[in-house]
Amino acid sequence: MPEKVVISSAVRHTGGPISCSDVSRRDRQIMASTGLGLLHGLRLAGSHANIEAIPGSRRAAFAVLDMVDPEIDDLAPAVLSSRVDGRLEQGAFYERGWREIHPLWPLAVLNNVVFSLACSYAGIEGENAVFSPGPETFVNAIAEAAGAISSGRANAAFASAVSPSSELSLMRSKLRVPPHRAATAGSNRKRGCGGTLVLESEEHARHRGQKPLATVAGWAFAQQGQDGSGVRGVMNTALRRAGIPVHDLNLIVLAGDPGADNTTTESIEELIGSAKGPTLCSADSIAPATPPGNIALVITELMERFRLNPQSQILVNASGAAGQLACLVLGGVQ
């Protein structure tokens, strides 16, 4: 019988300035706001879960980070020094211009380096992976963390996601939003935000005196079928794994993607029929934020603000830009 995996700590990061005074100036420049947000989340969640006594090699971490974009100021001197009569001369750039690029830039655009730095400062030496970059991959991170716990590969596992906050990321987030939603995207959605969870086995948490916040009951992933069968399939699979009939759900969080949400709603109607169904709400209504931190923010908001009661059964949907789908089922605990 696999151990029940619980969330023993959940913290959200709302995108404000982060103070990590022990981070060196050099590392701060590499990590930028995304990395510092990640580190802040790892530390705060770890602190809330009191994991100090757990050795670094028994701490795992799985994070979702979008591309870490070049800071334009790091590149601008190189471009400007390669202009001749107002035009970029490629030869000049090759010959000398590139030397003006800030030397830390190559590190700062590698999101695994940013992740590794955050892990290093947070004392995490165990299993780890960085996923990228859609909101659905936060469910992947949770699933990997749960797998690391249930198979005994770690005693505590972090699942974290942080949205980027650079100028380029804002442009990209606007581009990836369907046109009919473009008016609200980017400007109203929060950037640089996200959330971090600490997962452990229920037995381990209670043994340490930690009160679990929720159980990670089930999850599933799929690539969307053209007929929307992927949406139905992923929900059914997650519920089957959780051993929860759809009628017992209290709340379904829709992904916040119009295409996937419509199919999800239709699928729920098919599953439930005329019976009274669970409450539906959109991820955007709980936490309007840019991917990939948005679903992390939704889940931590649910943990922190809404407080699951023992009877709570929540299904969270998430979808990626390339048709990836994920579904997570959370349950309350006694």
Partner: protein
């Protein structure tokens, strides 16, 4: 594992790559694809354009990244070998790739700067800048190559992208194994792809001072474990495997090429630019892998080393191997495929795992070429310069990511 495929600087498929590697050939040469004047490193392992077999555009007007095209080429080989068309329920077929988005071109970066200042720069206006290619945004996204491949193969199962640099390909395969073990998928197409031989990519690694900048000939520049090594050589490629639940493979009478017995991962939690000198992080990944595989260290007959040809990295890996294998360490043959291929970054873990399996299938240990004067701090059996005929059935393949992310896979032949 019921299928595999690759495309590298050595060849357009796995067979050619392996055969040329077994002949101690190098895929490293002067870079031809762009003007390298001014760069301190002007060599790399480029894939011949004529070998690439992938559509130039998908779903309309956005052309895929070069990394994605390399992956699609490699995947055709793997798909054919595994006879993947036999698998009808594509909801149970997952796709996991280690990949990174394509670097922006210099011209595109320049256009970005032409467009306004920090207050006015925004995408709506950017789309009206003449010459700006909005496909850049999509080619930069690490998950697009995975989505492209899933669409090409019709895989509707889990679709996941991993971005842990040099360990991404190995981690993708490790996570694919877990998806199958945990019952999420019957089949997973997993691997890695990367193409960083472009101006911006080369500049990035040059600024980090990790590329080889001194060489007698390009072919001699990548020299893991050799005293004269001075950095790695950038390369490009893709490697992909078809992982399958054993009974599922048996039921459709697929040819089982080998088995992934275990996967381990760890973080150095040390300096971001250097591996831990004591090799503890790498050793933890190897030990975890062996534990996952439920095999004793004494059973391992060969090692495919990460061995990038950097001074610190190669030494740290040797220390790690010594910690895990103890007194046996000097007698275990250790191959360094990057001595011939260069460093394919996110593709390396997948390519090297496949080469390790092919070596077992053919009883050939691939060589570590360019071994002229061994570094005494790397006093292990590196299969110097020439391939060796030796029966072996169980090996590990190491991949250590820049930043301290370590992955190890244990692979072997299985009895018929």
């Amino acid at each position: 594992m019921t299928g595999y495929g690759m495309i590298t600087a050595l060849g357009e498929n796995a067979e050619t790559t392996f055969n040329r590697a077994a002949q101690s050939k190098s895929g490293v040469a002067e870079i031809q694809s762009f003007d390298t004047r001014g760069l301190t490193c002007r060599i790399g392992g480029e894939v011949d354009d004529s070998w690439i077999n992938a559509p130039l555009a998908h779903g309309g007007n956005v052309s895929p990244s070069r990394g994605s095209m390399l992956m699609q080429t490699a995947a055709r080989e793997a798909e054919s070998m595994a006879r993947l068309d036999q698998v009808r329920n594509r909801d149970r077929v997952g796709t996991i790739l280690g990949s990174h988005g394509q670097n922006p071109a210099v011209e595109q970066l320049a256009l970005l700067h032409h467009h306004g200042d920090s207050e006015t720069r925004e995408s709506d206006g950017l789309s009206h800048v003449p010459g700006y290619d909005l496909g850049q945004f999509f080619r930069r996204r690490p998950d697009v190559a995975t989505g492209d491949l899933a669409r090409q193969l019709g895989n509707r199962g889990p679709c996941l992208s991993i971005v842990s640099a040099c360990s991404a390909g190995a981690q993708a395969i490790g996570e694919g194994v877990r998806l199958i073990r945990e019952g999420h998928s019957d089949v997973v197409v997993a691997g890695g792809c990367d193409s960083t031989i472009n101006f911006v990519g080369m500049v990035g690694f040059t600024l980090l001072r990790v590329l080889a900048e001194r060489w007698s000939t390009p072919e001699a520049a990548s020299r893991p474990f050799d005293r004269k090594r001075c950095g790695f050589v950038m390369s490009e490629g893709a490697g992909v495997v078809v992982l399958e639940e054993y009974e599922h493979a048996m039921a459709r009478r697929a040819d089982v090429r080998g088995e992934i017995f275990g996967y381990g991962a760890s973080a150095d939690a040390h300096r971001i630019t250097d591996a831990r000198p004591d090799g503890q992080g790498a050793a933890l990944a190897m030990r975890t892998c062996l534990e996952d595989a439920a095999v004793e260290a004494a059973a391992i007959e060969a090692i495919s080393a990460h061995a990038t040809s950097t001074v610190q990295g190669d030494i740290a890996e040797c220390r790690a191997i010594e910690q895990v294998f103890g007194s046996r360490a000097p007698s275990i043959p250790i191959s360094a495929p990057k001595s011939m291929l260069g460093h394919t970054i996110a593709a390396a873990g997948a390519i090297e795992l496949i080469l390790a399996l092919m070596g077992m299938e053919r009883s050939i240990l691939l060589p570590t070429i360019n071994q002229q004067s061994r570094d005494k701090r790397c006093a292990l059996d590196t299969v110097p310069n020439e391939a060796r005929h030796q029966v072996h059935r169980l090996a590990i393949s190491n991949s250590f990511g820049f930043g301290g992310q370590n992955a190890c896979l244990c692979i072997g032949l299985i009895d018929a």
